[in-house]
């Protein structure tokens, strides 16, 4: 694994300004992510994990520090940074295939070919002409993933993409996503608050702690794919992440008592 460094984050801090005063959302984040890596980011609510993802995506450019992708500073959103929101955010007036193409024309043979391949990849064959209102939550989210992948992103940023799905659909979606990752080797940064999900998907788990958001620990996951959630090794890693959560809680209590 001598893959090159893709994402480089140095001294990243972010402050939210509001009428009630300033809130420090992220503090001195240092993070490097290699090409082809699957990284999950986990932490309690308010730890700034979504903020971090939005900054990497270029959707939020009001921060201190440096964020560079492939050696170039991130200056705004773009197709090289695919973004999957918690909701699918499809265009309701377009069919599945047109949603995936979005601003590109399906009449171009190369677009047509790739869209067909992606529909196959996200397992939506037969639903090309369906409208978003006819899809289930999991299907709609798969359309959103295909839409991002059509643009050949350097990195796919996923902001709790399966958070609104039921447990069975969620497990299925995790497998679909791993399948895509194994085939395309697209670098994935996946934000979640579900420990099982974080362990199941990742090469590396970034645990964030809140107030201000900072990296608590980074846990390597060396389990081979496909992973079994009931295996001992899986459970041990799960406990390790839980242990980090306990530490965060203790810190919070101490911090609270100190005031």
């Amino acid at each position: 694994m001598s893959a090159t460094n893709l994402l480089h984050i140095q001294h990243l801090s972010k402050i939210f300004h509001s009428a009630k005063g300033d809130v420090k959302a992220l503090h001195n984040i240092q993070l490097d992510i290699r090409e082809g890596e699957f990284v999950t980011v986990i932490g309690p609510s308010g730890c700034g994990k979504s903020t971090l993802l939005k900054i990497i995506a270029g959707l939020d450019v009001d921060y201190n520090g440096t964020v560079s992708l492939g050696g170039r500073t991130v200056e705004g959103p773009g197709i090289d940074k695919g973004f999957i929101f918690q909701e699918p955010r499809l265009f309701p007036w377009l069919t599945v295939e047109r949603n995936i193409a979005a601003d590109l024309s399906l009449r171009k043979p190369e677009v047509r070919k790739k869209v067909d391949e992606l529909i196959e990849l996200v397992r939506l064959k037969g639903f090309e002409k369906s409208y978003p209102r006819e899809l289930s939550g999991g299907m709609a989210q798969r359309v959103a993933i295909a839409r991002a992948l059509l643009r050949n992103p350097k990195v796919l940023l996923l902001d709790e993409p399966f958070g609104a799905l039921d447990a069975f659909t969620r497990a299925h979606m995790q497998e679909v996503l791993l399948d895509i990752w194994e085939r395309n080797r697209t670098t994935m940064i996946f934000v979640t608050h579900d420990i099982d999900e974080a362990v199941f998907l990742a090469n590396r788990i970034i645990v964030l702690k809140p107030r201000p958001g900072a990296i608590q620990n980074v846990i390597r996951v060396d389990l081979t794919f496909p992973r079994k959630k009931s295996s001992t090794a899986f459970q041990q890693l799960r406990y390790k992440v839980l242990g980090e959560f306990d530490k965060i809680e203790e810190l919070e209590l101490v911090g609270g008592a100190g005031i």
Binding site: P77, I79, R89, D103, Y131
Partner: protein, 266 residues
């Protein structure tokens, strides 16, 4: 074998029943009107009987007068609508998309909106003469506002989350308009279209009554002066029928263009 046939016949009779029920009131009204008029209970000068109206209708069609006037009227309303509605749509998009344009244009537009047709009609005649220009412009003035306001509102109602998606997918400014802003605000734009077309058609009366020698409005005002009440009724019927036709056309358009909507259908 006979079961489906009976079902079909049943459906046929049910349809006939529905039509019969629906026409019960209008038909009895017409018959009553005719009988009362013939017996002299109501003034045939104020309420010419249905048969007299039908007769006047037939005569106007035969002489080609009706078609001629109708054609002129439709052309006026159409031109006025295209001019005013087209401008309303374009400005609505501009004002909807850019806050700066809104600040610069909207206050003035809202002021102009409150000026009644009848107040500017004499001015338009002074400026543009009694020819076609003043009429078309008066109709255009009416057609402008519904499309302007509804397009503006439609664009402002587009989910900001979709604009965020467009940024992530790097839509060009142009694609943001034609692939996002316009389709997303289509329900509002079509409502504006419907209202604009109606206003154009209604504005026609004002335009043709003020100073005109042709058109359905003229036909009616001319007939009124010579106490040909039946012709006035023919004009009213033509106005209503064409208006309904235009409305049905927009409804058809609505059905085709916004079938993607998952909304309550009553």
């Amino acid at each position: 074998m006979s079961a489906p046939t009976t079902a079909l016949t049943n459906r046929g009779t049910r349809k006939t029943t529905i039509v019969l029920l629906g026409s019960l009131i209008p038909v009895s009204l017409l018959v009553g009107w005719q009988v009362l008029g013939d017996l002299g209970y109501i003034s045939t000068l104020l309420f010419p009987t249905p048969l007299t109206i039908a007769e006047a209708f037939g005569k106007l069609i035969e002489s080609g007068e009706l078609m001629e006037h109708l054609q002129i009227s439709v052309t006026r309303a159409g031109l006025g609508f295209l001019l005013g509605g087209g401008l309303g749509l374009q400005l609505g998009v501009l004002v909807g998309l850019f806050r700066q344009t809104e600040r610069a244009l909207d206050p003035s537009v809202q002021m102009l909106r409150m000026i009644p047709h009848l107040a500017v009609a004499p001015l338009f005649i002074l400026w543009f003469g009694i020819g076609e220009e003043s009429k078309v412009l008066l109709i255009a003035k009416g057609a402008f506002f519904p499309l302007y306001i509804n397009t503006f509102l439609g664009i402002r109602n587009v989910d900001n989350k979709l604009f965020e998606v467009a940024r992530v997918l790097q839509f060009s400014r142009f694609k943001q308009v034609i692939r996002l802003a316009l389709p997303a605000s289509m329900p509002n734009i079509l409502l504006g279209l419907r209202l604009s077309l109606a206003v154009s058609w209604l504005g026609l009366v004002v335009a043709e009554l003020m100073a005109s020698t042709s058109g359905i409005g003229y036909l009616m005002s001319d007939a009124r002066q010579f106490n040909k009440t039946a012709v006035v009724f023919v004009g009213i019927i033509v106005f209503a029928a064409v208006g309904k036709l235009i409305d049905s056309f927009v409804k058809l358009l609505e059905h085709r263009l916004i079938k993607w909507r998952d909304s309550y259908k009553g």
